[in-house]
Structure formats: C-alpha cells, structure tokens
C-alpha cells in the first residue's frame, strides 16, 4: 500500500501571531508567503494529520507514519523516541481494545508549537478514558501482577501530560510532551 492510499495532510507553517491566524491560511499561502515573509521572527508551528481505517496488522504502519511525521517536524531525538513509545501504546490500545481487533478509523493529529508537541488520537471505538485508569503498582511482584495496564502506564510515564474527552461518539486522547531545548 502506498502513502497515497492514506489520508495524510502534512503542512508546515510559521505564523507571526497565533495558531488561529495560521490555521485559516492555505498550505500554499503559508509556505510561499507567510514563511518567506516572516521567517526568523516568528513562533514555530507545524501540524500533521494521519487518518486510516486500521486492523491490528496496520499498527506498525500507523506508528511508522507518526514517527515520520515527528521526524519531519524536527522533534528532538529523545523526546521523539519517548513520545513514540507512548503513541504506540495509545494506537495499540485503540485497535485491540477500542475496536476489539476489527477495522476502525484512527485519526492522529500531531501539532508542534515551539517546545511542546501535542498528539491527539481520535477514534470511534468503545468509550475509554485512559486518564482515569488506575495506576500500575510496579511494587507488586511480577508473579502476582494481573495482565494489562502496562500500556496506559507507559503512556503516562513517557509524556508530560495526558487529557481525554468524549464528543459526538468519539474518544479524544491527547498526549502532551515538552521537547525541551535539546537539538534534533
């Protein structure tokens, strides 16, 4: 399957004032006009949207596309790897539990504003709020641990903040990661 088979909107923008200003401008305008006019004097903003109907066998492709997006957005290496660990868990959870392994739509919106990346995952699977999932007690001996719960814990630990809301039948799970001042 080629990349053209996916609905991918990928655009970079730099805007002088705010995201809301940049958000209404077209891709071409942003690239050809705003970027050229304001470069060197602006907030950095970049956004990528990946959307696909996925099965368990597609988890790796969704993950690889997300990783590619983070690379294109110049997310520093350590932050990118940690965010990918969290994102992989979130994608896996949606596909295996939200859709019970059946084909379902997953939309990932990756947004970088200055030193912060937000990744929003949207799905229409079973309603599930990962932020309210009980914390994993890692002090419980391995032999006594119940299966499950590790994925959500990894998401928490590899991000700086997570948020969730449910709207119009869809789960919106947002991962927030500070990228710090590390060079890419």
């Amino acid at each position: 399957m080629t990349l053209s088979a996916y609905k991918i909107n990928f655009y970079f923008c730099r805007a002088l004032y705010s995201f809301s200003v940049a958000g209404i401008l077209s891709h071409e305008y942003l690239r050809e006009k705003v970027f050229d006019n304001f470069k060197g004097n602006v907030e950095n903003m970049s956004k990528c949207i990946i959307e696909k109907k996925v099965l368990p066998a597609d988890i790796e492709e969704m993950s690889n596309l997300s990783d590619l997006a983070l690379k294109k957005l110049d997310i520093p290496e350590t932050a990118r790897q940690e965010l990918m660990m969290a994102l992989d868990e979130a994608i896996t959870n949606i596909v295996l539990h939200g859709y019970s392994g059946k084909k379902g739509n997953v939309k990932i919106i990756i947004d970088r504003v200055n030193d912060c990346v937000t990744v929003e995952l949207i799905d229409s699977g079973v309603k599930f709020d990962p932020t309210r999932y009980p914390e994993l007690d890692v002090n419980v001996p391995i032999e006594e641990r119940k299966a499950g719960g590790m994925g959500v814990e990894l998401v928490r630990k590899f991000t700086d903040e997570t948020r969730y809301y449910h709207r119009d039948g869809a789960n919106h799970f947002i991962l927030i990661k500070k990228t710090g001042g590390e060079n890419a």
Partner: protein, 116 residues
C-alpha cells in the same frame, strides 16, 4: 504488513543467544510468536537465554508482557533470561514497569555471556 519476528539463535556453550532482527516490535501476532519462541526454549531445556535487542528501536507493552510470561516460565524451570544492548528508551520502559530489577540487563552481549 509487518514481517514475522526475526530471530537469529546461537547456542554458545549452553547459553542460548537470541538476536532479534526487527527494528519495531508492535504487532500483536509477533508478540505471541515471541512468547512462544521464548517459552519453548525453556521447555526444551535451555537454562540460560540472552535476548539481544540491539536492533530494536521501538517496542510496545505487548512485548514486555511477552517477556514477563517467558520470565515466569524461566523461573519455573529454574532457568535465567537476560537482555542486552537495550536502547535507553526501551530500558526506561523496563524500569517504569518494574522489570529492570526482575531481569538482568547487560550493556553488551559479551558482558551478558560472561555474567549470566
């Protein structure tokens, strides 16, 4: 479509080295396959197994779960399973899950061979 799990196995003086070739370990079927391969090695009598994950850059909790199942099997058989060449991010994952103290993790394969 993900590939199958790629493992190169070597028996060096009774120590089984399993070098994983995949860079990304996310596929649920691959996780089941990994569990099966590791547990079967202990069922077949292996007493020392080193899992070299030098090529692995990303791994999901499905594989941590796989390692836990294999670790329990190893304990049951009075065998040992260790890891080597673990990337810093995956190592952090081991530690976050409380697995960093459950499994021996060595920086290099040579260290693992000497100390397991």
């Amino acid at each position: 479509m993900p590939e199958r799990i790629q493992i190169i196995e070597e028996n060096r003086n009774g120590i089984y080295i399993m070098r994983i070739g995949n860079a990304v370990l996310l596929d649920p079927k691959m996780a089941d396959e990994m569990t099966s391969i590791l547990t079967q090695s202990f069922d077949s009598g292996a007493l020392k197994v080193i899992v070299n994950i030098s090529n692995v850059t990303r791994m999901s909790s499905l594989f941590f779960r796989s390692f836990i199942i294999a670790g329990k099997k190893a304990k049951e058989k009075k065998a040992v399973m260790a890891f080597c060449n673990v990337s810093p991010t995956i190592r952090a994952g081991f530690d976050m899950m409380g697995l960093g103290s459950y499994f021996k993790i060595y920086p290099e394969e040579s260290h693992a061979l000497e100390n397991i």
